[in-house]
Symmetry: C2
Subunit: 423 residues, 2 copies
């Protein structure tokens, strides 16, 4: 059994390291995600399936914002009623998409379209709104809605025009390979990748026929939004992992995600099934005036970056982030990646990390190794306030719960016709 699993895992990690995610367009979600195309009221959310009642307050806040943005309701009270009775919820992951934090994605939000040229599959993600009061952290006041409208009407179409000037789309792997040498881990730190992306968009936008005051506004937003690349990284990782999981064998984690209630993983040999366990609450550093007591439990599809070996898995690539997420100094960053190294099957030769003595990023989380060592993946994450409307209050790290890996390994043992290790 181990031989055939190992062979499958090798094929999967080969697909992972040779992924070719390319930014090809920015469109409205309804144009590319079937379930959002009709007249019924549907919202995508982060994590495995969940009902509105079960959602954390900030995730509910995001839903309210989305309903107001779509014009389905005129105020918060109307929105809450609608959400309780008339809105259908479905995970981003079930529709080729990923969403940060609440992950709430509604039909008319702008989404980036990333194509993995290796297999031709596509992945979608909303764009990063910047910091402060933002929908993904549960804020939904007028400024939040106005920004979403600007992103739908101005930012999205402008970037789409710019990207279409690149004959084959805008390749993301070369940029990720550069930025991982520049202190980014692509989850809580994307400053290098965002700067590289912004400077490449400059001449493209200047060559469009978009009004130059709009060009200035778009370039200013990109220049100011250090985490802009996070959502591109998420879509890139989703497109890579979806191609990799076409091999329906082996023990590699193909998705990790959280909805504020459950942490869930998918495993290559176990198809679309989610294996869940209650989420942990992130520990970290808080913005002035906030504390751990106010921290919302872990949520978001952004841990698709860790699934691909970035984020907390590649902590050593980004020693600058360790102080932001309260994870110590350089030696702590090194210890973290060295620990993560124990639960993966290899290294990504295309993502060499200078601070890891040029070793490639950790590649391919193997649930057998997770269970054998009890070492669970570490995730770098933003921390939302439990109170809806407040938004982000800090950043930190959180561990995936061991229980979902144990459940998955038991299912894998059944699939391969061997008795559980407990027997």
């Amino acid at each position: 059994m181990d031989d055939s699993i190992n062979a499958a895992n090798e094929a999967i990690t080969e697909l992972m390291s040779s992924g070719q995610p390319v930014l090809v367009d920015v469109v409205r979600a309804r144009d590319v995600i079937d379930v959002l195309a009709g007249d019924s009221k549907v919202l995508l959310h982060a994590g495995p399936p969940i009902t509105f009642d079960e959602m954390t307050p900030p995730m509910q806040g995001s839903c309210i914002g989305a309903v107001l943005f779509e014009g389905w309701a005129q105020n918060e009270q109307e929105a809450r009623q609608l959400l309780a009775h008339d809105v259908t919820f479905t995970p981003c992951h079930h529709h080729g998409a990923v969403g940060p934090m609440g992950g709430i994605t509604s039909p008319n939000m702008a989404v980036i379209v990333v194509e993995n040229r290796l297999r031709g599959n596509r992945a979608y993600c909303t764009m990063n709104e910047g910091i402060g009061k933002v929908l993904r952290f549960g804020a939904y006041d007028a400024s939040v809605i106005a920004r979403l409208e600007w992103m739908r009407d101005i930012l999205g179409p402008s970037l789409a025009q710019a990207v279409r000037l690149t004959p084959d789309g805008y390749a993301l792997t070369p940029l990720i390979a550069r930025a991982i040498t520049m202190g980014d881990e692509f989850h809580q730190r994307n400053i290098a990748a965002s700067a590289l992306f912004a400077k490449d968009m400059g001449p493209l936008l200047a060559r469009t026929d978009i009004d130059r005051s709009v060009v200035a506004d778009v370039l200013q937003f990109l220049a100011d939004t250090d985490q802009f690349f996070l959502n591109l990284a998420m879509a890139a990782c989703k497109s890579i992992m979806d191609a990799a999981r076409t091999i329906e064998e082996g023990s590699i984690v193909t998705a990790m995600t959280r909805n504020g209630k459950d942490f869930a993983i998918r495993v290559s040999g176990l198809g679309d099934e989610w294996f869940t366990a209650p989420v942990n609450t992130p520990k970290g550093l808080y913005f002035t005036g906030y504390s751990q007591d106010e921290a919302c439990p872990d949520m978001g599809d952004s841990s698709i970056t860790e699934t691909f070996g970035l984020g907390g898995m590649s902590m050593i690539a980004a020693p600058g982030v360790t102080r932001f997420v309260g994870a110590g100094g350089f030696s702590d960053a090194l210890a973290t990646s060295d620990e993560m190294d124990e639960i993966v099957v290899g290294h990504n030769a295309n993502l060499s990390i200078p601070t890891w003595d040029f070793q490639g990023a950790p590649l391919g989380i193997d649930i057998r190794k997770v269970v054998a060592t009890s070492i669970t993946p570490i995730i770098n994450t933003g921390i939302a306030s439990l109170e809806p409307g407040v938004g982000q209050i800090g950043a930190g790290t959180v561990r995936a719960p061991l229980a979902c890996f144990v459940k998955a390994l038991e299912a894998l043992a059944v699939k391969y016709g061997v008795t559980s290790t407990d027997d």
Copy 2:
């Protein structure tokens, strides 16, 4: 004696770490450098004083290019004659300027203007031409001259307009502090700083009334020129060191520079005097088709970055550069900065290096420590071909020769009225 030297050194390093270099303008050299303003034919060059005959072939090549660019001669032969008889040469450093490699600066070249707000003094440097055939490495064909003309007529005035839109100029210290956490050491690696600069110029240029095809060309050049920030870093370091050396006491190195023949240093307690020794030839990695035999001896004012504690001194900040300059892996980068740490008097609290466990960049090279340990500063440098017209053939590291530090220490002993250590 040691107490008064130590006190002076402390005051000097305080001026160094609190420097506030700000990009305020881009103009023609003749507009800001008096010696270039008149009708006589004057060229600035890198390093301490040197005659045309003594220059390395690539430095002579740069001179030919400058003469053709200025229209002082119509062809190479005429240019050589003019250079041998009718051109006056003077070091950049004597005129508030610094120049990369050959450092050849002629009256109508565009120069950036950096003001150190701490003291109000200004420093000048030409702009980075990109890679391949470029004047600074001794190339002078029609493409080189055409690029210099474009930089004079388009790039310079465009950036000047953009920078003037920032009310107080474009502050360089915050950018350097960010980019040192992103793998730059600001001599052979400026990719992060150049990207941050380019993305900030985008919205500014879009807000000018410059023709948008020109805006596109300028942003494309900035996006493509990973070393663009080197020259900004050089001018910033020059402005900082010139402010620091207003304290005319102590044993801190205030300039290190090379003209292809001599390596020269200035020391805080010894004013404008240059202490020289024959230069070494860099060792490193060569572009395909070239080898160490063809390497030109060390030249350029760019070692002003090491004088301030960047470049090779901060090797650990840029493990990504070690493979480019042939300086080994991560542990070698660490060993290099740890070694450099032995010859400085402190650390720059404003330039924290995550990969050095957040220690500040090395600050203040003390000639007493250099002589006592025989550890000389290491410099990350480009390598020019000995043959003029070829340009850059590699990149590597080179050591400052010990002899110039010994000479300076002897002079310092005389100044402070103590006998030489040899007596």
